[in-house]
Each structure stands twice: as structure tokens, then as C-alpha cells.
């Protein structure tokens, strides 16, 4: 009984730990003084920042990064938004200077065709092999 109770306690602890991990928000690099007063505009800035790669710590978005260049870019995006630039114009401004690499999600272009389509090709090959194998093993 006691042993069962102990395992139950450990089980609850593990579940609690997982839940905390699941519901905890990510840490962000945005400093309080950067945040725009207008919530709508701030939300736009946050959404753009989440898609922009920090060029220094290359697998983080500028929204998460505390690198100085990421901060500069966040401020620049907010300035552009308050000046009335559209999201598209802001993305263009950034890719003109840093290339498509600055986008965390590469665009669907002729040069990125293989990148986007190869996973599906491999999936099809995988399905084909499984079916082929199954068919063969049934015969035996």
C-alpha cells in the first residue's frame, strides 16, 4: 500500500512537472521600454519579430534573443510600424539587407523547391517500400 502510494506521488510529481513545462511561457528578449503603447501595433511587431532570425544566435528569433543586433532590429520594426509601413514592406526591408536567411521560415521559391517538397517525396518512397514489403511477406 505504502509502496503504491509512493509511486502514485512520483507519478503526480512527473505530471505536474510536465504541466508546468507545457503551460510556462517562453522567455522573451523584449525589454519593457521597447514595447509600444498601442497594443494592436505591438502585437504586429511581436508577430513579425517571431518570424525574424537573430543573425548572431542563428536559431533564435529576434523576439527571444537578447543580442544587441536583435534589439536594434526589434526597435527598427516598431519604428517602421508606427511610421505606417505594412508587414510586407517590413519583411522586404529586412530581406533586401540580410537575404531570405533572416526569415525563420524559408519562402516557397524555385530555389527552395527541394527543401519543401523532398520530405513528401521521402514519405511517398517510405509508404511505397512498406507496402511493397508487406505484399512480399504475405506471399511467403
Amino acid at each position: 500500500m505504502i509502496k503504491n502510494f509512493l509511486t502514485f506521488k512520483i507519478f503526480i510529481l512527473i505530471i505536474a512537472f510536465c504541466l508546468i513545462q507545457f503551460f510556462s511561457t517562453n522567455s522573451y528578449g523584449v525589454d519593457p521600454e521597447e514595447i509600444l503603447q498601442n497594443q494592436k501595433l505591438e502585437l504586429r511587431a511581436r508577430n513579425i519579430s517571431k518570424n525574424i532570425r537573430c543573425m548572431i544566435c542563428q536559431n533564435q528569433s529576434i523576439d527571444e534573443s537578447s543580442a544587441p543586433l536583435a534589439k536594434d532590429l526589434r526597435i527598427l520594426i516598431r519604428n517602421k510600424i508606427t511610421e505606417g509601413n505594412s508587414d510586407k514592406e517590413i519583411y522586404k526591408f529586412l530581406t533586401d539587407r540580410y537575404g531570405d536567411f533572416i526569415l525563420l521560415k524559408p519562402p516557397f521559391k524555385l530555389s527552395t523547391l527541394a527543401l519543401w517538397l523532398l520530405p513528401f517525396v521521402f514519405l511517398l518512397i517510405g509508404i511505397f517500400i512498406v507496402f511493397w514489403h508487406n505484399k512480399k511477406s504475405k506471399k511467403i
Binding site: 543573425m55 548572431i56 542563428q58 544587441p68 543586433l69 536594434d72 532590429l73 527598427l76 530581406t95 533586401d96 539587407r97 540580410y98 537575404g99 536567411f101
Partner: protein
């Protein structure tokens, strides 16, 4: 029949292995990114000039001669390391070296250049890093080669080493 079936995955695996081996052997730096500004005109900008009273206006500075544009700061250790090579370029004929002082204290820069020597014919002051963003700079020191028509021909991220010094010279001799 079964043996034939096994050939395909092993060939695929071996070819992937070969690709990885090739990428491992060739001389490449995965963190270095190609500049989108290559073969394009230099970005237009205006700023204070560190030594001159007259403003630094990019359209007045670029053109005519081949220019080497060097983004530097006194707080950046690799900038100190590459300084001897930057000076060598300034001694070469037909090349002018332009400095862009990135997010730095002007007074400190002046004493830094007094100590190490000033290879720059003109220095633009980039107080908030906006000029650097226009050039797609992400990690100083960065060096650009601009031809006599004001078009960017080469970009190097990181300090100039002996190898890079030779490479830049080769590029300069090609565009001359």
C-alpha cells in the same frame, strides 16, 4: 530479389555519407552568410564624419577609386587584430579605405587610432548601428570591397587574416 532490394538503401546511405564528408572537408564556414548586396550599389547614407567637419555623404565618397569599407569598433577585439592588414591596404596604391565606426565612443576611437595608426581616409560615425543594418552587417569586423562604380564586389565577415588579405588583393586585382 531480396538482395536487390537491399542495394537501394545502402547506396542512398553511402551517398548521404559522401555528401557529409565533402561538406566536412571543403573549406567553409557555415556561420558566414553570402551578402545580398553583392553586385549592387552601395546603400545611400549620411552621417557625421569622425575627423572631418563636413558630413559623410555616401554618394560623394563612393565612385572613382576602389574602396575598402571596414566596419570597426574599439570595443571589438578582432578589429584590433586585423588592424595591421587594414593599414597595409591603405598603403597600397589605387585603394582608399573607408572606416565605419560602429556603436562606439568617438573620443575612444580617436585615441585608439592614435595608438594603432589611422588607415582610414574618412570615417563615418554609426552611433546607433543603422548604417550597419543597411549594409546587412551582423558581426563586426566586416569588410566590403567596392569597385570604382560604387558597386559592392565582395564582403568578408570577421577579421582579415593573412589568407583573407591575399583573397581581397586577388579580388581587387580582378576588378581593376
Amino acid at each position: 530479389m531480396k538482395k536487390q532490394f537491399l542495394i537501394f538503401p545502402s547506396v542512398l546511405f553511402l551517398s548521404i555519407l559522401l555528401i557529409f564528408l565533402y561538406l566536412l572537408i571543403i573549406d567553409r564556414n557555415p556561420t558566414e552568410l553570402p551578402s545580398t548586396l553583392l553586385n549592387k550599389k552601395v546603400p545611400k547614407f549620411e552621417s557625421e564624419s569622425l575627423f572631418k567637419e563636413k558630413k559623410f555623404v555616401s554618394s560623394d565618397v563612393f565612385g572613382e577609386k576602389i574602396k575598402l569599407v571596414n566596419f570597426f569598433a574599439t570595443w571589438c577585439k578582432p578589429c584590433r587584430d586585423e588592424h595591421s592588414y587594414v593599414k597595409r591596404f591603405s598603403n597600397q596604391e589605387g585603394i582608399e579605405v573607408i572606416g565605419i565606426n560602429y556603436k562606439d565612443n568617438s573620443q575612444k576611437t580617436i585615441s585608439w587610432l592614435k595608438e594603432l595608426g589611422n588607415p582610414y581616409s574618412n570615417i563615418a560615425v554609426d552611433k546607433n548601428g543603422r548604417i550597419a543594418i543597411d549594409w546587412g552587417v551582423y558581426g563586426i569586423p566586416e569588410t566590403f570591397v567596392v569597385n570604382s562604380k560604387g558597386i559592392i564586389k565582395y564582403r568578408h565577415v570577421g577579421p582579415i587574416t593573412k589568407k583573407i588579405y591575399k583573397k581581397i588583393n586577388l579580388i581587387i586585382s580582378e576588378i581593376e
